[in-house]
Amino acid sequence: MSATAETLLPFDDVLAAFDPALGLEVHVELNTATKMFCGCSTVFGGEPNTQVCPTCLGLPGAMPVVNGKAVESAIRIGLALNCRIAEWCRFARKNYFYPDMPKNFQTSQYDEPICFDGWMDVEVDGETFRVEIERAHMEEDTGKSTHVGGATGRIHGADYSLVDYNRAGIPLIEIVTKPIVGAGERAPEVARAYVQQLRELIVALGVSEARMDQGNLRADVNLSLAPKGSDVLGTRTETKNVNSFRSVERAVRFEMQRHAAILQGGGSILQETRHWHEDTGITTSGREKSDAEDYRYFPEPDLVPVAPSPEWVEELRGTLPENPTQRRARLQAEWGFSDLEMRDTVGAGALGLVEETIAAGASPQAARKWWLSDLARRANDTGVEIGELGVSPAQVAAVQALVDAGSLNDKLARQVFDGLVAGEGTPEEIVAARGLAIVSDDGALTAAVDAAIAANPDVAAKIRDGKVAAAGALIGAVMKEMRGQADAGRVRELILERLA
């Protein structure tokens, strides 16, 4: 790994000279109860090596048997991505030496994927990009290695590694796009939108927890540049394990700028794997792709072929959720959002969150307001995904219910969100603990109103003369005195009563 900083070309200069081609590989960990080829539990977070058996440990003589539910999920994902479903396909062994798989191979699919030739329409700022899907195939996840000694957690400098095989064998679906060309300056956003909208689809299908922070959904980003106007694809790099939507966008942008700087300097791109660094927002060189990368794939002799009948495929087609384009159109009509409001909601990755908030009782505009103004800003400021702030749709609806009941105003509601993000409990607990309820008790308010009138005799005189609009200044003074916790409507009434 080189410590020298990469030279980057400014983004606009990249676009002036080059056309980017993107390719995305997304691994989806299915939410089946058991592993792909054995009955071990897939529950996340178990003690190390407590969810392993002879099959997933690759012990001699152990025989794999395919999880039917995982095949069903694979077909449903394929159908939702408008793929063709193979009438007959096999598993294959991908042979390699790395201790994250104790078998010395990963059971995957090679030239016979279960799903192929599909597409997904991705919306970016109201514009639709059709992303062609090359294939979606079944495989198994690997174990988790911890590198001990040297630099913590990193491969280089490690003295030895410790492996937990609980994750080894959990069903994965790998979804691979065809090269996405023609996105130009939108390439980073298209990459992000694709992963974001693919996740929404996976959630709607109910086949995965699809949490990027827990690694249920992992993206590899392939990128190459071609000289503007050329239709020959350039040499690509593959950036592995980009684990948030925001990082997908950043990684594409970074690689575009890095490639362009090398190409304009007369150099050539090395076909290699790159590592993404979330903290610094850069990629560094991983392993070079070479002849040594030869996995000697061959058909898995311990498993019989999978041959979904047309009847089964059609039955599964009947279980598909509404397609994303129809869903967006339906929700926009139901909620009465303008095109711009809808676009912002989709762009923020908040469509599902807003939908759940409305289902929990909030009005569409209130749900949109909280997620897009307040919570999206917090997510952006802290660099986390909006769905992972620690604030649930039900909590947003509960806060709005308090606003509707007159117990909170918007300013106080924001303080409740502060508390939710900080993990201080439920909205009701936070209101109580922080003393956030609105004061509408006339005794307390009247004292503050009288003080404000006494302190601002000029304003009071204007109001007495009938200039009711001047009351705003006094309301402001009272609100300040009451630290924002006064019922503004009642304050106004009291001021006008006293100065009538």
Binding site: N49, N67, G68, N95, Y96, P99, T146, L162, V163, P299
Partner: protein
């Protein structure tokens, strides 16, 4: 069936992490060729009506219900490991990349 070359055997040895000397390569390459030729003679028997297969049984769709079955205890799982630490398999320092 084309003959397997010395270079191919060397490549396979590298993939299999087997360190072969020049003398061993000279010795093994012709032997592997003979084995491949013998196996290839099977394709002479199969007529056009026999499709290539990777499995001897005419079975498809052998599936298991998605029902959890007991796993090994960690002690059992680790009992064959040359070394372990913190209930994990201990392996030599890894030089390559994760897949």
């Amino acid at each position: 069936m084309p003959e397997i070359t010395r270079a191919e055997v060397a490549h396979l040895a590298t993939l299999a992490r087997i360190d072969l000397s020049d003398a061993e390569l000279d010795h093994l390459a012709p032997q592997l060729s003979v084995i491949l030729e013998s196996v290839a003679s099977i394709s002479g028997v199969a007529g056009d009506d026999v499709a290539p297969t990777s499995h001897p049984l005419p079975l498809v769709n052998v599936f298991r219900d998605d029902v959890v079955r007991p796993s090994l205890t960690p002690e059992q799982a680790l009992s064959g490991a040359p070394a372990s630490e913190e209930q994990r398999f201990m392996v030599p320092r890894i030089l390559g990349d994760e897949q």
